[in-house]
């Protein structure tokens, strides 16, 4: 990428990011293929950090690969697996290797993943991780000692606009902004009218907001998310639309829906950009963006 993610955020352009989940194992072929596919298509690529508490190749390693292949990585960092010492060390390492964007997350609970007996750390929470970054940028560590060489990051966080009740989420959203979040990626949204109401509230805070778009791959997946994924709500008409797809055409329908949503978000300037999560179908991200009328991230 010729511009850093921070420069893109400041440029006023409609921001497009996507994400990759590293593999379980050391065979990086598929991830590298997806990095090459996306690096010039989107403005930045998130690399997930043991998403859903399933142990994988580290986000730091994935972010380095994105960087090495000429992409702009956003390092996802959760507070689940590392205490404040390990988090600071990884932040210094990331900075020293040219990774300049961090997405601060609390992290899923250990018990929902594939190492159910592991110790969940949560020494910090997401807003405290943001504070840690800003503290280290000022040349201090969390123990109060001076750093010989500080860090500098474009730091972001997430929000769940469909959470119920919503007010506790909004209070935390405001804490994240106070703690220094420069951009916010949302949990998946499907009801744009609801999302507009959230944006009416969020816009005055001046933080850049990217709407989370998860590709629907089948109507069953939509119903599964409604039942099992906290803070995700797929309205019934969209489920019906997925059901109406011809046999073998569900994915194409999902691409069409995702593209249509992105197009509307951009045309109506509902928020500052989108974060596209294709969850294993990364090769379809360019198709989604074509459907949305956005080519090559322009």
């Amino acid at each position: 990428m010729d511009r850093s993610f921070k420069e893109v955020l400041g440029s006023g352009k409609f921001v497009v990011t996507s994400e990759l989940g590293p593999p379980k194992g050391t065979n990086l072929e598929n991830m590298i293929h997806h990095v090459d596919l996306l690096k010039d298509t989107v403005d930045a690529i998130n690399v997930t950090d043991h998403q859903s508490s399933v142990m994988r190749y580290p986000s730091l390693g994935g972010a380095l690969i994105v960087k090495e292949r000429g992409g702009e990585p956003i390092l996802q960092m959760t507070c689940r697996d590392r205490n404040r010492m390990a988090l600071q060390a990884d932040l210094m390492f990331a900075y020293s290797r040219g990774i300049k964007n961090v997405l601060c997350l609390t992290g899923d609970a250990v018990v929902v993943g594939d190492h159910k007996q592991a110790k969940g750390v949560f020494d910090l929470d997401s807003s405290q991780l943001l504070t840690a970054i800003r503290t280290m940028e000022a040349g201090k560590d969390l123990g109060g000692s001076d750093l010989d060489g500080a860090v500098s990051f474009c730091a972001g966080a997430i929000v769940t606009p469909e959470a119920n009740p919503i007010e506790p989420q909004l209070i935390k959203f405001e804490k994240k902004i106070s703690a220094g979040a420069e951009f916010i990626q949302t949990q998946a949204i499907y009801d744009l009218d609801n999302f507009k109401r959230f944006m009416d509230y969020a816009r005055p805070f001046g933080v850049k907001i990217m709407a989370g778009i998860i590709l629907l791959t089948s109507w069953r997946m939509a119903e599964f998310m409604n039942k099992n994924v906290p803070g995700v709500f797929v309205p019934q008409p969209l489920i019906e639309e997925m059901k109406s797809a011809p046999k073998g055409g569900a994915l194409a329908k999902g691409v069409e829906i995702a593209g249509r949503m992105i197009r509307r978000i951009k045309e109506e300037s509902i928020c500052d950009g989108v974060h596209v999560m294709a969850i294993g179908k990364e090769e379809l991200v360019p198709d989604i963006l074509k459907e949305a009328g956005i080519l090559n991230g322009s």
Partner: protein, 217 residues
């Protein structure tokens, strides 16, 4: 009343711990494990009959009134004969009781239960963990509900993204602590307290193992 909350170990694990010992004294506790139905008289009798089926001799059994009390030695003295015939004491108490017994007798004290948490009795047969003894109480800012304990992740600054219609992402039977705190503070007209940013926790207020010595005369 706070209670030490326990569950029974699988019987196979108890047998492994006994590891060939064939003469044991069996002791329950009249307080917490009686309430939890893990080590009261019915459970002690049930364990005794299961042991007998495995040809393990129960030299005696009793339910100690409060197994973690230093007076446990009186219970031992009352049953001196049965203790002297045993190779070990199988404890159907919490770990406090096991350790108290272990200091009182020369025999190995072997736990038949796992101690889960120190809980509050919320009604008959209902026990909740409400305090994690963190050494830095935040209840004054959280509507009297402890997020360090009641939030699975111990978060201080509000809910995570896993909060799900008032329930926790790990278990739909468990409430989201931050939803409870929010509702309580809202009711009290004190939502501003929820907006307060909590700095990093001190996890070593009293470094483990906790030890306090009062300067008594």
């Amino acid at each position: 009343m706070i209670r030490s909350i326990t569950k029974q170990k699988p019987f196979e694990e108890v047998l492994e711990l006994l590891n060939g010992l064939d003469r044991i004294f069996l002791a329950g506790c009249g307080t917490c494990t009686t309430l939890c139905r893990t080590g009261g008289m019915p459970e002690v009798l049930d364990m005794a009959s299961k042991l007998k089926e495995k040809d393990i001799i129960v030299t005696g059994h009793m339910v100690i009134p409060v197994a973690c009390d230093e007076l446990t030695h009186e219970a031992v003295e009352e049953n001196q004969q049965a203790f002297s015939e045993a190779e070990a004491v199988l404890m159907m108490s919490c770990a406090y009781g096991v350790q108290t017994m272990s200091r009182q007798v020369d025999l190995p004290a072997i736990p038949a239960l796992d101690t889960l948490f120190v809980g509050k009795e919320m009604g008959l047969g209902r026990f909740d963990e409400v305090c994690a003894q963190c050494g830095s109480c935040v209840l004054g800012l959280t509507g009297g509900i402890c997020p360090v304990t009641a939030c699975h992740k111990g978060l201080l600054n509000g809910p995570c993204g896993g909060t799900n219609n008032g329930k926790c992402e790990i278990d739909s039977d468990k409430d989201c602590a931050w939803t409870l705190i929010y509702l309580r503070l809202k009711e009290q007209g004190k939502l501003d307290l929820m907006r307060k940013y909590h700095d990093l926790r001190n996890h070593n207020v009293e470094p483990k193992p906790g030890k306090i010595r009062l300067p008594l005369e």
